[in-house]
Amino acid sequence: MNRVLIVAEHTDGKLNAAVAKCVACAAAIPEAEISVAVLAKDGKAVADAAAAIRGVARVLLVRNPANEPALAAVLAPQVVKLAHGYGHVFGPSTTFGKDLMPRVAALLGAPQVSDVMAVESATRFRRPVYAGNAIATVEAPAGRQIVATVRVASFQAAPGGGSAPVETPSLDVELPAHTRFVSVSAARSDRPDLQTAARVVSGGRALGSAENFAVIQRLADRLGAAIGASRAAVDAGYAPNELQVGQTGKIIAPELYVAIGISGAIQHLTGIKDARTIVAINKDAEAPIFEVADYGLVGDLFTVVPEIEKLL
């Protein structure tokens, strides 16, 4: 039996969709027995949601006011305590998991496999390197703990319908006071979440201004899509940082990805290569985005995009 502990990400009392994908990844380990750790202030709803993911054997709910908002330095020593007796400790490859898991790994003295995209055995994993220009197969030593982050775009969410028991272990850990949450400025919108949306419309440098980004918003509204952006568009201030798609931004796998005015630098393409269908709209017929697009349309986005809207 391989015991896997997954650290749950949650915000405002809601379980992050990435957790069910981590469960799917963990379930690919032979003879996996999966626990989900929820570290929260209250956490009841989050723990119940985690318990309903099929494949989860138990949920460990650790309640502490210090656990929200999540700070890696506060969570890590608690995860280390919970990890006792587990061979694998997984978290999502989101900014939450990327921040937390290496801290956990260092405290455990364990190696970390970042961005697991496939499980080949309990110790063998595939992961992208060089912005996805190469896929490495890595082997972790047997008989010691393995920490990993899961590239959520590579996995289909495990289904619901489970009913795992929720345990509430008490942890005797000293938590540091050296790190304090101040604030978060999150754009609240009714739009689908970029990382889990079925459709994504992204804009690039060719939009030319933050005002012109409204072109992207209108099409996204029309399609019920999330909005993304290239690094160039974010650097230029046309779109906020949380919309950046690519090697150092978000890695996504929607059913439909529409790239508008994005040339397609390799760092951007690595963020979308798992998309089912890619549509590219660009003035430059030589743009590299057309090399990966299922449908390419060469033309001026300010003319073409409103036309598409009318036809939908």
């Binding site: 890595v138 050296h178 036809l311």
Partner: protein, 249 residues
């Protein structure tokens, strides 16, 4: 002395299209341009700006890597670092060993702040800063887009999935950089000449008492599966028709 340590990694240049070697043992590096990891350049730029604001006295550039990395450390000195330290190690060295080597240097140098890139663009691991902070038992402020020092603490704005998060950390602490923190300066020719006279100490993992053996074994590298090239449609109508036929809109 209020000191800032900055991590520098030598990587294949950002603009190079990386290719896997036919035998699967790695990627092609012969004749390929090598540079400072872009996130590390941002880290160095931030340290220099803090020093120029009078909030630090010395910036030390540190690398754990092959002897060739002296080139990148010379570039760091030309950018404005006061001195540099190279810890010689095999190219296979991993984040946990790098973090332990950095910890040894942190204990010798007593920095107020350590700034590292959030990830290296070769192995894309995104681990070293967090691991150093854990081993050092100090705060971490990862993916920083703004760093303000305020007495014995730093206020750091972080690029997170939800947007921008601000945290406050007691110093000393480890920060890792995100893209929007700053735009690194260009190196001027006279600075390259000056950099030749700046101290660059060379040591190695054994001298620091760190076991450099990798924990993970890379069995092989493969090129990623290629997407099939699609079709070019002539206008918006043809595009929408095609998407409707596939049930995508």
């Amino acid at each position: 002395m209020r000191r800032i340590l900055v991590g520098i990694k030598r990587v294949i240049d950002y603009n190079v299209r990386v290719r896997v070697r036919p035998d699967g043992t790695g990627v092609v590096t012969d004749g390929v341009k090598m540079s400072i990891n872009p996130f590390d350049e941002i880290a160095l730029e931030e340290a220099l700006r803090i020093r120029e604001r009078g909030e630090a006295d010395e910036v030390v550039a540190i690398s754990v890597g092959t002897d060739d990395t002296q080139q990148q450390l010379r570039n760091a000195l030309a950018m404005g670092a006061d001195r540099a330290i190279l810890v010689k190690a095999d190219p296979s060295v991993e984040a946990p060993a790098v973090a332990r080597a950095l910890l040894e240097l942190v204990e010798r140098e007593n920095p107020r702040l350590v700034i590292l890139g959030k990830q290296a663009i070769d192995d894309d691991c995104n681990q070293t800063g967090q691991m150093l902070a854990a081993l050092w038992n100090r705060p971490q402020a990862t993916f920083a887009s703004k760093i303000e020092l305020k007495g014995d603490a730093a206020r750091v704005t972080r690029e997170v999935d939800a947007g921008l998060e601000t945290i406050e950390v007691d110093l000393p602490a480890v920060c890792t950089t995100d893209l929007r923190l700053n735009e690194p300066r260009y190196i001027k020719l006279p600075d390259i000449m000056k950099a030749k006279k700046k101290p660059l100490d060379v040591t190695d993992m054994a001298a620091l008492g760190v076991d450099p053996a990798p924990l993970l074994k890379v069995l092989k590298y493969e090129p990623p599966p290629q997407r099939q090239k699609g079709v070019i449609v002539k206008d918006a109508a043809e595009l929408v028709t095609a998407l409707k036929q596939k049930g995508l809109v």
